[in-house]
Protein backbone atom coordinates (compact mmCIF):
# COMPACT_ATOMS: atom_id res chain seq x y z
CA UNK A 1 0.00 0.00 0.00
CA UNK A 2 1.50 3.35 -0.98
CA UNK A 3 2.29 5.71 1.88
CA UNK A 4 0.65 9.05 2.43
CA UNK A 5 2.23 12.08 0.79
CA UNK A 6 5.07 13.51 2.86
CA UNK A 7 4.25 17.12 3.63
CA UNK A 8 6.56 19.86 4.86
CA UNK A 9 6.15 20.34 8.60
CA UNK A 10 9.00 22.57 9.73
CA UNK A 11 12.33 23.88 8.44
CA UNK A 12 15.03 21.50 9.65
CA UNK A 13 16.94 24.34 11.31
CA UNK A 14 13.99 25.16 13.56
CA UNK A 15 14.28 21.92 15.54
CA UNK A 16 17.43 21.73 17.64
CA UNK A 17 18.72 18.43 19.04
CA UNK A 18 16.97 17.47 22.27
CA UNK A 19 13.89 19.59 21.61
CA UNK A 20 10.19 19.05 20.97
CA UNK A 21 7.86 21.09 18.81
CA UNK A 22 4.17 20.78 18.05
CA UNK A 23 3.22 21.61 14.46
CA UNK A 24 0.18 21.26 12.21
CA UNK A 25 0.52 19.13 9.09
CA UNK A 26 -2.51 19.04 6.80
CA UNK A 27 -4.86 19.96 9.67
CA UNK A 28 -3.36 17.28 11.93
CA UNK A 29 -1.41 18.23 15.04
CA UNK A 30 1.90 16.43 15.17
CA UNK A 31 4.72 16.36 17.71
CA UNK A 32 8.19 16.63 16.22
CA UNK A 33 11.26 15.69 18.21
CA UNK A 34 14.91 15.78 17.31
CA UNK A 35 16.91 13.22 19.22
CA UNK A 36 20.43 14.03 20.45
CA UNK A 37 21.71 11.90 17.58
CA UNK A 38 20.07 14.32 15.13
CA UNK A 39 17.35 11.90 14.07
CA UNK A 40 13.88 13.41 13.73
CA UNK A 41 10.74 11.62 14.99
CA UNK A 42 7.06 12.46 14.51
CA UNK A 43 4.32 11.30 16.86
CA UNK A 44 0.84 12.14 18.03
CA UNK A 45 0.93 15.39 20.01
CA UNK A 46 -1.04 14.26 23.06
CA UNK A 47 -0.54 11.59 25.65
CA UNK A 48 -2.83 8.60 24.99
CA UNK A 49 -3.53 8.43 28.72
CA UNK A 50 -5.23 11.74 29.47
CA UNK A 51 -4.38 13.84 26.43
CA UNK A 52 -1.73 16.05 28.03
CA UNK A 53 0.22 18.15 25.53
CA UNK A 54 3.50 16.33 25.04
CA UNK A 55 5.26 19.40 23.66
CA UNK A 56 5.12 20.65 27.28
CA UNK A 57 6.94 17.52 28.39
CA UNK A 58 10.64 16.82 28.65
CA UNK A 59 12.92 14.70 26.53
CA UNK A 60 14.66 11.95 28.50
CA UNK A 61 17.16 10.32 26.18
CA UNK A 62 15.15 9.11 23.17
CA UNK A 63 11.86 9.32 25.06
CA UNK A 64 9.33 12.01 25.91
CA UNK A 65 8.24 12.37 29.53
CA UNK A 66 4.54 13.32 29.75
CA UNK A 67 4.12 16.42 31.92
CA UNK A 68 0.97 15.09 33.57
CA UNK A 69 1.68 11.56 34.84
CA UNK A 70 5.27 11.13 33.71
CA UNK A 71 4.60 8.24 31.39
CA UNK A 72 7.62 7.81 29.12
CA UNK A 73 7.21 7.13 25.41
CA UNK A 74 9.94 5.98 23.05
CA UNK A 75 9.88 8.64 20.34
CA UNK A 76 11.03 6.24 17.61
CA UNK A 77 8.47 3.51 18.23
CA UNK A 78 5.83 5.25 20.35
CA UNK A 79 6.09 2.43 22.88
CA UNK A 80 5.02 3.27 26.42
CA UNK A 81 8.11 2.46 28.47
CA UNK A 82 6.14 2.00 31.67
CA UNK A 83 6.06 -1.78 32.10
CA UNK A 84 2.36 -2.17 31.31
CA UNK A 85 2.44 -5.97 31.81
CA UNK A 86 2.63 -5.30 35.56
CA UNK A 87 -0.65 -3.41 35.36
CA UNK A 88 -3.57 -5.59 36.43
CA UNK A 89 -5.56 -7.04 33.56
CA UNK A 90 -8.75 -5.13 34.41
CA UNK A 91 -6.84 -1.86 34.20
CA UNK A 92 -5.08 -2.74 30.95
CA UNK A 93 -8.47 -3.50 29.41
CA UNK A 94 -9.69 -0.12 30.59
CA UNK A 95 -6.77 2.01 29.39
CA UNK A 96 -5.30 -0.08 26.54
CA UNK A 97 -1.58 -0.38 26.00
CA UNK A 98 -1.14 3.42 26.03
CA UNK A 99 1.34 3.48 23.17
CA UNK A 100 1.84 6.70 21.24
CA UNK A 101 1.04 6.79 17.53
CA UNK A 102 4.02 7.56 15.31
CA UNK A 103 4.19 8.99 11.79
CA UNK A 104 6.83 8.34 9.12
CA UNK A 105 9.04 11.37 8.62
CA UNK A 106 12.28 12.37 6.93
CA UNK A 107 14.39 15.41 6.11
CA UNK A 108 14.78 16.70 2.59
CA UNK A 109 16.07 19.97 1.14
CA UNK A 110 16.15 21.67 4.53
CA UNK A 111 12.64 20.61 5.57
CA UNK A 112 11.19 18.02 7.90
CA UNK A 113 8.56 16.07 5.96
CA UNK A 114 5.82 14.11 7.71
CA UNK A 115 3.26 11.63 6.40
CA UNK A 116 0.18 12.61 8.38
CA UNK A 117 -2.86 13.41 6.30
CA UNK A 118 -6.31 14.53 7.33
CA UNK A 119 -7.73 16.16 10.41
CA UNK A 120 -6.61 14.54 13.63
CA UNK A 121 -8.10 14.21 17.06
CA UNK A 122 -6.12 14.91 20.21
CA UNK A 123 -4.27 11.63 20.17
CA UNK A 124 -3.66 11.65 16.42
Amino acid sequence: MPGLPALPALPSGDLAPGTLREVVVDRRRVLLARLRSGEVCATAPSCPHEAARLADGTMRGDAVDCPLHHYLFDLRTGRNLYPMPVYPRWKREEVGNLDLRTFPCREESGWILVEAAGPGDLTG
Binding site: T58, D65, P67, L68, H69, H70, L72, V86, Y87, P88
Partner: protein
Amino acid sequence: MAKVARQMVEEAGLDVNVLLEKLIAAAGAEFTTFYYYTILRVGAIGMEGEGLKEIIEDARIEDRNHFEALTPRIYELGGELPRDIRKFADIAGCPDAYLPDSLAGGKTPSGPSTTDLLNVLVEAERCAVRTYTDICNYTAGKDHRTYDLALAILNEEIEHEAWFSEFLGEGPSGHFRRGAPGDSPYVRRFMTAGS
Protein backbone atom coordinates in the same frame (compact mmCIF):
# COMPACT_ATOMS: atom_id res chain seq x y z
CA MET B 1 -0.93 32.11 52.31
CA ALA B 2 2.41 33.89 52.55
CA LYS B 3 1.88 36.94 50.36
CA VAL B 4 5.42 38.27 50.21
CA ALA B 5 6.83 34.78 49.80
CA ARG B 6 4.57 34.28 46.79
CA GLN B 7 5.43 37.72 45.47
CA MET B 8 9.14 36.90 45.60
CA VAL B 9 8.56 33.80 43.51
CA GLU B 10 6.47 35.72 40.99
CA GLU B 11 9.03 38.49 40.75
CA ALA B 12 11.71 35.89 40.09
CA GLY B 13 9.76 35.07 36.92
CA LEU B 14 8.00 31.85 37.88
CA ASP B 15 4.39 31.16 36.97
CA VAL B 16 3.10 30.27 40.44
CA ASN B 17 -0.02 28.61 39.04
CA VAL B 18 2.13 26.23 36.98
CA LEU B 19 4.28 25.57 40.03
CA LEU B 20 1.18 24.86 42.12
CA GLU B 21 -0.07 22.37 39.51
CA LYS B 22 3.25 20.56 39.73
CA LEU B 23 3.24 20.55 43.53
CA ILE B 24 -0.36 19.38 43.84
CA ALA B 25 0.22 16.60 41.27
CA ALA B 26 3.33 15.57 43.20
CA ALA B 27 1.45 15.61 46.52
CA GLY B 28 -1.28 13.49 44.93
CA ALA B 29 1.28 10.98 43.70
CA GLU B 30 2.80 10.74 47.18
CA PHE B 31 -0.58 10.25 48.81
CA THR B 32 -1.74 7.59 46.34
CA THR B 33 1.63 5.85 46.44
CA PHE B 34 1.42 5.71 50.23
CA TYR B 35 -1.93 3.97 49.78
CA TYR B 36 -0.75 1.55 47.08
CA TYR B 37 2.48 0.77 48.92
CA THR B 38 0.39 -0.29 51.90
CA ILE B 39 -1.16 -2.98 49.68
CA LEU B 40 2.20 -3.91 48.16
CA ARG B 41 3.83 -4.19 51.58
CA VAL B 42 1.00 -6.40 52.81
CA GLY B 43 1.62 -8.63 49.79
CA ALA B 44 5.37 -8.87 50.41
CA ILE B 45 5.33 -12.22 52.21
CA GLY B 46 7.17 -15.50 52.10
CA MET B 47 10.85 -16.20 51.56
CA GLU B 48 11.25 -13.57 48.84
CA GLY B 49 8.67 -11.06 49.97
CA GLU B 50 9.90 -10.73 53.53
CA GLY B 51 13.26 -9.45 52.28
CA LEU B 52 11.46 -6.58 50.55
CA LYS B 53 8.97 -5.75 53.26
CA GLU B 54 11.18 -3.43 55.28
CA ILE B 55 12.30 -1.24 52.42
CA ILE B 56 8.75 -1.06 51.06
CA GLU B 57 7.76 0.19 54.51
CA ASP B 58 10.58 2.75 54.52
CA ALA B 59 9.52 4.01 51.10
CA ARG B 60 5.83 3.95 52.08
CA ILE B 61 6.29 6.05 55.21
CA GLU B 62 8.69 8.42 53.49
CA ASP B 63 6.20 8.98 50.67
CA ARG B 64 3.64 9.95 53.30
CA ASN B 65 6.26 12.28 54.78
CA HIS B 66 6.71 13.85 51.36
CA PHE B 67 3.00 14.54 51.18
CA GLU B 68 3.16 16.10 54.65
CA ALA B 69 6.12 18.26 53.69
CA LEU B 70 4.65 19.41 50.34
CA THR B 71 1.26 20.42 51.69
CA PRO B 72 2.31 23.52 53.69
CA ARG B 73 4.22 24.85 50.69
CA ILE B 74 1.14 24.52 48.50
CA TYR B 75 -0.89 26.64 50.93
CA GLU B 76 1.93 29.16 51.47
CA LEU B 77 1.93 29.81 47.74
CA GLY B 78 -1.83 30.40 47.72
CA GLY B 79 -2.86 26.97 46.45
CA GLU B 80 -4.98 24.29 48.07
CA LEU B 81 -5.50 20.56 47.93
CA PRO B 82 -8.57 19.42 45.99
CA ARG B 83 -11.54 19.18 48.32
CA ASP B 84 -12.60 15.87 46.79
CA ILE B 85 -10.11 13.07 47.35
CA ARG B 86 -11.26 11.38 44.12
CA LYS B 87 -10.13 14.41 42.18
CA PHE B 88 -6.86 14.38 44.10
CA ALA B 89 -6.23 10.79 43.00
CA ASP B 90 -7.13 11.63 39.40
CA ILE B 91 -4.60 14.45 39.17
CA ALA B 92 -1.83 12.52 40.92
CA GLY B 93 1.33 12.96 38.89
CA CYS B 94 2.35 9.29 38.54
CA PRO B 95 0.72 6.07 37.36
CA ASP B 96 -1.07 4.02 40.01
CA ALA B 97 1.17 1.43 41.67
CA TYR B 98 -1.30 -1.44 41.44
CA LEU B 99 -0.71 -4.85 42.95
CA PRO B 100 0.22 -7.02 39.95
CA ASP B 101 -2.17 -9.80 38.86
CA SER B 102 0.47 -12.38 39.71
CA LEU B 103 0.04 -11.51 43.40
CA ALA B 104 -3.74 -11.20 43.50
CA GLY B 105 -5.54 -13.26 46.10
CA GLY B 106 -2.72 -13.22 48.61
CA LYS B 107 -0.27 -15.24 46.49
CA THR B 108 3.26 -15.40 47.83
CA PRO B 109 5.81 -13.58 45.66
CA SER B 110 8.18 -16.00 44.02
CA GLY B 111 10.36 -15.75 40.91
CA PRO B 112 8.49 -13.85 38.17
CA SER B 113 5.86 -12.49 40.55
CA THR B 114 8.61 -11.03 42.75
CA THR B 115 9.97 -9.33 39.64
CA ASP B 116 6.46 -7.99 38.88
CA LEU B 117 6.26 -6.54 42.39
CA LEU B 118 9.70 -4.96 42.09
CA ASN B 119 8.86 -3.49 38.70
CA VAL B 120 5.81 -1.74 40.14
CA LEU B 121 7.92 -0.37 42.98
CA VAL B 122 10.89 0.75 40.92
CA GLU B 123 8.72 2.40 38.26
CA ALA B 124 6.84 4.35 40.93
CA GLU B 125 10.16 5.61 42.26
CA ARG B 126 11.44 6.45 38.79
CA CYS B 127 8.34 8.52 38.16
CA ALA B 128 9.00 10.34 41.43
CA VAL B 129 12.63 10.97 40.46
CA ARG B 130 11.46 12.52 37.18
CA THR B 131 8.80 14.55 39.01
CA TYR B 132 11.19 16.16 41.52
CA THR B 133 13.93 16.65 38.96
CA ASP B 134 11.36 18.62 36.96
CA ILE B 135 10.35 20.70 40.01
CA CYS B 136 14.00 21.36 40.91
CA ASN B 137 14.74 22.44 37.35
CA TYR B 138 11.67 24.70 37.35
CA THR B 139 12.45 26.40 40.66
CA ALA B 140 16.26 26.50 40.66
CA GLY B 141 17.52 29.98 41.45
CA LYS B 142 13.96 31.36 41.59
CA ASP B 143 12.03 29.76 44.42
CA HIS B 144 14.60 28.78 47.01
CA ARG B 145 12.22 27.23 49.52
CA THR B 146 10.41 24.98 47.04
CA TYR B 147 13.73 24.05 45.43
CA ASP B 148 15.20 23.09 48.80
CA LEU B 149 12.15 20.97 49.63
CA ALA B 150 12.00 19.29 46.19
CA LEU B 151 15.72 18.54 46.37
CA ALA B 152 15.31 16.91 49.79
CA ILE B 153 12.48 14.74 48.46
CA LEU B 154 14.48 13.94 45.31
CA ASN B 155 17.33 12.66 47.48
CA GLU B 156 15.02 10.18 49.17
CA GLU B 157 13.29 9.10 45.95
CA ILE B 158 16.65 8.36 44.34
CA GLU B 159 17.55 6.15 47.29
CA HIS B 160 14.22 4.33 47.03
CA GLU B 161 14.80 3.71 43.32
CA ALA B 162 18.28 2.39 44.03
CA TRP B 163 16.99 -0.04 46.69
CA PHE B 164 14.44 -1.64 44.38
CA SER B 165 16.77 -1.53 41.40
CA GLU B 166 19.32 -3.45 43.45
CA PHE B 167 16.80 -6.26 44.00
CA LEU B 168 16.18 -6.39 40.25
CA GLY B 169 19.87 -7.17 39.75
CA GLU B 170 20.70 -3.80 38.20
CA GLY B 171 23.63 -3.19 40.57
CA PRO B 172 24.23 -2.20 44.18
CA SER B 173 22.38 0.77 45.65
CA GLY B 174 25.45 1.82 47.58
CA HIS B 175 23.56 2.45 50.80
CA PHE B 176 21.73 0.66 53.56
CA ARG B 177 18.12 0.89 54.68
CA ARG B 178 16.95 3.41 57.27
CA GLY B 179 17.84 3.23 60.94
CA ALA B 180 14.15 3.49 61.82
CA PRO B 181 11.21 2.86 59.45
CA GLY B 182 10.60 5.84 57.19
CA ASP B 183 13.23 7.98 58.88
CA SER B 184 13.33 10.56 56.05
CA PRO B 185 16.90 11.74 56.63
CA TYR B 186 16.57 14.53 54.06
CA VAL B 187 12.92 15.59 54.41
CA ARG B 188 12.59 15.36 58.18
CA ARG B 189 13.67 18.98 58.69
CA PHE B 190 10.67 20.14 56.64
CA MET B 191 8.23 18.28 58.87
CA THR B 192 7.89 20.91 61.50
CA ALA B 193 4.58 19.85 63.08
CA GLY B 194 4.90 17.59 66.06
CA SER B 195 7.88 15.42 65.10
